[in-house]
Each structure stands twice: as C-alpha cells, then as structure tokens.
C-alpha cells in the first residue's frame, strides 16, 4: 500500500496531460483559427488577417508536430508505467 503511495504518480499523469494538451491544440487550431481567419477577411480586417497559404502551412506543421508530440508523450507514458511496475516489484520483494 505504502509502496503504491511512494511512487510519484505524476510520472504517469504528466505525459497524459501533455498528450491531451497537444491534441487539444490541434483540434482548436482546426476548429477556430481557420474559421476566425475567414471571419477577419469577411469583415475586411486585413491588418490581422493571414493569407490562406500561411494558415494552411501552419495547420500542416501543427499536424506533423502533433503526431511527434503524441508519440513522444506515449513513449514517456510507457516509460512511466514501466518505472511504476518495477517500483512495485521491488517493493513487493522487499
């Protein structure tokens, strides 16, 4: 019981938070940034409107980065889980 409490659970929770953060960022970018940019064009606000090619380039880069970050997060989560199992085994065997 104590061994379970001794292991810092943040080692498993933190990668999950990272993955959710990156996924959330990806979904937000797709759902809001593109539509907002179109809205700026419709309102004639050219000072802060960004050309479509740039927004597309941003989205493409976000997609690639999200893949990399999610895979990286999964690796960190896996290593956290392995550490937890090793910790529990060491504690059970004294």
């Amino acid at each position: 019981m104590n061994a379970h409490r001794d292991f810092p659970l943040r080692r498993m929770v933190a990668p999950i938070v990272l993955i959710l953060f990156v996924l959330g960022w990806y979904r937000f970018s797709g759902a809001y940034i593109q539509t907002d940019d179109a809205s700026l064009l419709a309102h004639g606000n050219y000072a802060v409107y960004v050309p479509v090619q740039q927004v597309s380039a941003y989205m493409q880069a976000v997609t690639w980065v999200s893949y990399a970050a999610v895979f990286g997060g999964l690796i960190l989560l896996w290593s956290g889980l392995v550490s937890y199992v090793e910790h529990m085994e060491r504690s059970n065997h004294g």
């Binding site: 943040r10 933190a14 937000f28 380039a57 970050a69």
Partner: protein, 410 residues
Amino acid sequence: MAPPMILEPPFLDSLELVYLMFALSGFILGWVAQRGNYCFVNAMTSVFTTKTYDRFGGLMLLFGLSALVPGLLVAVGVVPSVDQYYFNYFGGWYIVVGAFIFGFGAAIAGGCNLSMLYRAASGYVQNWLELFGMMVGTYIFATLVWPFQLSTMQAGLLSTKAGGYVEYLPYDLFHSVSGASVGATAVLLGVPFILFGVYLQRRTQARFRAMGSVEPVRAAGAGGVVVSRERESTGHGSAVKRAWRVLTLKEAMGTNLATVVLFLDLLLVFIVGAGYTFNYLVITSSDGGRFLEYILMPFGVNLALTTSWYNSSLPIVDTSVLMVIMLIVGAFSASYLSGDFKIRIPRERRRLAIGFGGGILVGLGVRIALGCNVGLMWTNFAQLGYDGLLFLPSMLAGVALAVKVQEHLL
C-alpha cells in the same frame, strides 16, 4: 536613396518547413532554458542579491554573439540586409518605460517571459498565474494604453515614426546598408558585449578564488542522486564525463553552454525565417496576446474584431504560436525526463497573488515596450537596432527596484 524594403527569402521555399523550423527552435529554446536554468531576470537579480556577475556576464555574451554573427552573415551576403532590418521596431519613450515596468513585474512575479514559460511547464503554479496575469495585463494595455501610445508613435512624440532601416544601426552610423557597413556595425556592437561578458565572469571567479570560497558539499540522500556539479579536475576525461552527464540529464547545463546553444537557436530562425516572417525569437505576442484571444474564441468573443491593438497589431496566427507551444513542450520534456517535474505551490499563498499581479505588470510592460526580454531586447541585438540598448538598462532598473520591494515583503 532609401534602401529597399522588400523581403528576400534566401533559402527555403516551403512555408510548412519554415513553421516546422520555428517549432523545432521553440522546443530547443524550452529544453535548453529549462536544463540551463536560464533566466534573464535571475541573471539581473543576482547582481543585486548575491553580488555575482557570472550569469549577467552570460547574458552579455549572448547579446554580443547575437549581434556579431548575424551581422557578419549579412555582411558577407548569406542573408540580405533587408531581412535583418525589415522588422526593426519604432524606437521611443515606450521602450524605456515598458522595459522598466516589465523588469519590475518579472522580478516580482518570479520570472521573465522565457523562465515564466519553462517554469510553468516544470510545474510552478506561481508562474501559471503569472502567465494569466500577463494576458490580463495585455488586455489592459490594449484598451487603456495603446490608443495613447499609438498617437505618440504616429506623431513622432519622443519616438521615431518608422522602424525598418531608420532603426538600423549600420544606416544610422554609416548611412549605408552595404556589407562593409553592416560588418563594421556588427563588430562595433558585438565585440564589446562579448568582452564585457567574459570580463564579468572572470571577475566573479577571481573574487571567489581570492576569498578562498568553499565549493558546496553535495550529498546523495534518500533520493540517491547527487546534485549537480562538483568542481572536477581539468582534463579531457572529466570534460567528457561532464558532457555525458549533461546529455543524459543527470546534470544541468552550465550557463555558457546554454548561452551558446540559445545563440545558435536564434541563428537558426534568423536564417530559415529570412524573407518569410519575423525571423527572430518572439514569445509574448503569442503567450500574452494571442492565447487570450484563443481562450475567448470558443465563447464567441473575438478580440481581433472588437478590441484595439488586437484588431490592428496581432495577426491571428504566425510562426511564434507554434514556437511558444513547442517551447512549453520542450521545457516540460526536459523537466520530466530529468526528474525535476513537480507541481509546486508556494507555502506562502500570497506569492500566488504576487505572481498574478506581477504578471499583469509583465503584460503591460512588454506591450508598452513593443516586446519582452527575448522578442525585443535579445532579438534587437541580432537586428542591429538600438531598442535593445534602451531596453537593457531600463529593465535592470526595474529589477533593482523589485529586489528592494521583495526584501521588504519577505
């Protein structure tokens, strides 16, 4: 005749790659700043609290390298000069005032924009509140300060009316943007800062040697990990061992190593972003400005349509957005992998309120100054502008005042 103001991309022909390189740059920035405990504010507070100058010397080295090498790249024609001066800022009273407010707020809150982000990513709750405070401060600036500041900029009241080559030191000194004038300016600006940085570091070390100062005794306790570096004997073997410990995250990066890597990071974006975008490191237009816009978007509030400054000075997205996101990811990764990640809440809860209040001042200060310690001060050295030279002493003065206030608050 005025020099041309049309950007010329010298290398990449893919916007996606430009965005990716900025993402990589952000990751490196976050990782190295976290591993090197690199904080501009800490470098300045050390001058007043522990009376040590080695970290401040590291900053001087960073600025000197950032002025010298990009300048020489432009001088030999690798990067066109227009890509160096195109985004130079409008200099004026607001740089001095904003930098002072920023320095004060950052020292009170517990970190400059770079350290705020990497500490937030490492689990410091005070810095999360500083970040939110920064968004609020930016909004206050946009609604209350910007209309007045814009009028002074347009009328040239204690400010120039244009950035670009007007703010470009080679043009100011030699009335030319030729390779020779740019190269000469890079040397004139960069070399003294490098020498000053080396002098400060050597002076600090010499003082410690003269005092016969004792090296810290470090012991492994229950955690089983020996803290950081002992003074090892010189020699190839110990240098290799130290490098391995740094690479495997068992040891923090030294100040000078972090300085060199950060400088190379700046050089990366200077080259790959040239001709496409603001080819320098910028943080606060995203974390202080855009992030509040983005947070409010799902609630149907569009600051880019309704609010001054947001509707005129902040494109809805640019390369800095991805850079800042990856800075957070990089810092988190470094913190997690080195075992440093932990949610940290100050014992004194009032620190959280101080962090938030300081963050408001940070947001206000950076927007008034048109940028922060990274996006304006450090970057402006690479731009061969003079706004960084105005920002530096003003920020230092703000930090000095904050140290006095902190001493009373303790």
